[in-house]
Amino acid sequence: MFQQFELAHGVKLYVRPTEQFKTINISFKWKQQLTLEQAAIRSVLANVLQYNNAEYPTNAAFRKRLDDLYGAVLYFDTAKKGNHHIFSLNAETVNDAYLSNEKVVEEVFSLLHTVIFKPNMVDGKFVDSIVKREKEQVIERIQSMYDDKTRYAQQRLLENILPNHAASITANGTVAAVQGVTNEQLVDMHETLLKKDELSIYVVGDVNMQEIKDKMEKYFQFTARTAELKKEVEAPTTTNDKDFLHEIQDMKQGKLHMAYRTPITFFSKEFPIMQLTNGILGGFSHSKIFINVREKESMAYYASSSYSSLYGLIFVLAGIDSNLQEKAVKLIDEQLKAMQAGDITDLEINQTKSMLKNQLKEALDSSRAQIEIYDQYKEIDESFTVENWVSRWSSVTKEQIQQMASTIEKEFVYFLSGKDGADNE
């Protein structure tokens, strides 16, 4: 779905010319192996580069420039995918065609050059006061997760099943890791981005291929890089002696987070079948978990499963009355057992195939989603298209799904609730 060019070894440009959008989306993604320390450094660096640069020495001056360019969006971000940490720079600008006599796109490319190659440095270092404050901002972002009970419960689940593993390391790092970040580490990391990290650049919009290639050469001369990234995540070797943890906070609802393991991952040939299996179990509002936990028992407002394919994990999440944890776990267990026993109808299979297909096709209506989906699927298939992927689901049979369900094993139950639930134990 993207045309691709190698700009230098390890630096690839992916372009998708389309008249679908009124804007042009640009995304730089620098990838490296995920570690806690590096994640912390990179998240602080993202903030520091976002704050100012050599041409726009204050944040207000920089933002005013973006406002002038018809509110161009330009931001650094960090994320993780499987084994990798992704440091990204994203921009979205209005296509000049919708403005009278303006040359906004060229200006945005020039600004992208500035934020990457001309950071605000004094004597080869970032400004200490900015580093200090942006470290604080990242720490506060990490701490704010505590206020969102769903995110908090999910993180606690991961820390318990896979401590010190890619699955539980967050893209921002931890408070302690961020506190330890030094100015020198930020400078080194900036160098790493410019010279060492594998880099993918995406452009989506009503653009001319040659013009984009010319602009790339004019503004960004990235040098060849040799780092080889390992794609697959190592299977965790540790096993838990515990399989249940109940924690108490001052809150009203009970947050049930269950983890299941499967040897089938994104890189397995059975991956498309496992997508269907998860869909039938709990991916949609026709799925077994939704129908039985919410519609039949009225126990929950949300109840669903999701397949974290890069790690071979399936999560089931439900918000329930804090006294009903045991009943809910039993009910959810029964849904998986039913699938393992072959209790899967043609209707469920057809609904799930239709919904997965629709989900993937719908994603094409957002340029950001086009980039994200391709960035993931190209790891297994550089010539990925939505149509081809959809065809992999069409022939999947009930027996194959049942067989996939039998690879799924329950690993851990985490429950976060208020004090009511505790009294019953």
Partner: protein, 434 residues
């Protein structure tokens, strides 16, 4: 079928009002895979006091009923509507706001079949005492979920501070207590009053053939019988200009305090062009004084009084409106003092130049063009604008014509300190159990 071409945006909008009163809008988008259809009634949580269709006495219905009704529409005698949509690969959903209830689906195939399912399930109510009882457990979990979300509590706390009488202060989903009073009879009464086609808008956007779709909808609507359209009589209490409560705190299990500085608007009984211009002027004024390029923001950011959660905006509907400036903060006291001072200073001395205004309007035009990439944004916002007698596609010309005088006048309405309020969520004191 009326056809309007918006040259600058390169969009064509098709519109027709059907004999039963339903307004149908269709906006084809080239290059898109999916079609998104919303079917919306001008009925939300604030519509709690009204004269039911065919009756002559005013009723007050239990809080949370519009949202409860939304949930119950999906259940039919033959089962759950989600199942039917799933068979045709459509993701369906619904939401209830203060002023609207919207039912929607998106799909890349079987657009006409799915449109038919949408029209049928919203136009064929089925409520029994048993199905109503069953829903109470689900909605109670939804309510408790929101109860645990500090940002939602913060937002609602600020609105509760501002309003003494107006039902915007009542949580959209109601309370566990209020929903327990809801009966099937209540639901039919609300349904019959507010779900008449003349009180609704159908908006179709995406990969759609406008002629085929319009013909399909017309045929469907012509095959169903509806009573003649009638004016709906709704009652809203008189609301004073001053806020109800000047300052209030709530303790929750949070890491650091969260605060909203709210300013209740007094120019809210407007609609159409007047509303469009006022709303934009107010938003531009807030952006100038409190946006991320403002001297105010630079100051509080440098002092460490705000973090990435900071926001400042103005929102309104007919009958209520408010500006809110808020952030997670280690020093709510100092932050709110600074906000108050900044409002008073700018209201007495407006220092912005025409260049500043141009910059902000350019930013907003860019934001609007970006938003037009999202067909969900178009459908939902267009409906909201149309219920307020405005046209979404007038936003760009209105922004281009906005004068400094309008912006300055809008900001001056914030001067009255009796309309200011502060709501704060603070962490529990940590010495209790630890």
């Amino acid at each position: 079928m009326n056809e309007t071409y918006f040259e600058q945006l390169e969009e064509t909008l098709y519109h027709e009002q059907l004999p039963n009163g339903l307004n149908v809008y269709i906006l084809p988008k080239k290059g898109f895979s999916k079609t998104y259809v919303t079917f919306t009634t001008k009925y939300g949580s604030i519509d709690r006091e009204f004269i039911p269709l065919g009756k002559d006495k005013t009723v007050i219905v239990p809080d949370g009923i519009a949202h409860f009704l939304e949930h119950k529409m999906f259940e039919k005698e033959e089962g759950d509507v989600f199942q039917k949509f799933s068979e045709k690969g459509a993701s369906a959903n619904a939401f209830t706001s203060f002023t609207r209830t919207a039912y929607l689906f998106s799909s890349t195939d079987y657009i006409l079949d799915n449109t038919k399912t949408l029209l049928d399930f919203v136009q064929q109510p089925y409520f029994t005492e048993q199905t109503v009882e069953k829903e109470k457990g689900i909605i109670a979990q939804e309510i408790t979920m929101y109860d645990d979300q500090p940002d939602w509590r913060l937002y609602f706390g600020a609105i509760e501070n501002m309003y003494k009488e107006h039902p915007v202060k009542i949580d959209i989903a109601g309370t566990v207590e209020s929903i327990n009073k809801i009966t099937a009879e209540h639901l039919y009464e609300c349904y019959n009053t507010f779900y008449h086609p003349s009180n609704m808008v159908l908006f179709v956007v995406g990969a759609v053939d406008p002629k085929e779709m319009m013909a399909f909808i017309k045929e469907d609507q012509a095959s169903k019988t509806f009573e003649a359209p009638q004016e709906i009589t709704r009652f809203f209490p008189d609301e004073q200009n001053d806020v109800d409560i000047k300052e209030r705190k709530l303790q929750m299990d949070v890491q650091k305090p969260k605060v909203i500085y709210g300013i209740k608007s007094n120019n809210v009984n407007i609609s159409g062009e007047e509303m469009l211009n006022y709303e934009l002027a107010m938003q531009v004024a807030i952006e100038l004084v409190f946006g991320r390029t403002s001297a105010f923001y630079q100051d509080v950011y440098d002092k460490g009084l705000v973090d990435e959660s900071y926001s400042a905006d103005y929102s309104m509907e007919n009958g209520y409106g408010f500006s809110m400036i808020g952030s997670d903060t280690s020093n709510a006291e100092e932050l709110t003092q600074t906000i108050r001072q900044s409002i008073l200073n700018h209201a007495s001395e407006w220092e912005f130049t025409v260049e500043d205004l141009k910059r902000i309007t350019r930013k907003k035009i860019g934001y609007f063009l970006r938003a037009l990439n999202s067909i969900e944004y178009i459908a939902n916002q267009f409906t909201r604008y149309s219920f307020n007698d405005m046209n979404l596609f007038d936003v760009v010309p209105a922004l281009e014509n906005l004068s400094m005088e309008q912006v300055k006048d809008a900001f001056e309405t914030l001067r009255n300190e009796n309309a200011h309020t502060v709501f704060t969520i603070v962490p529990f004191e940590k010495n209790k159990n630890e």
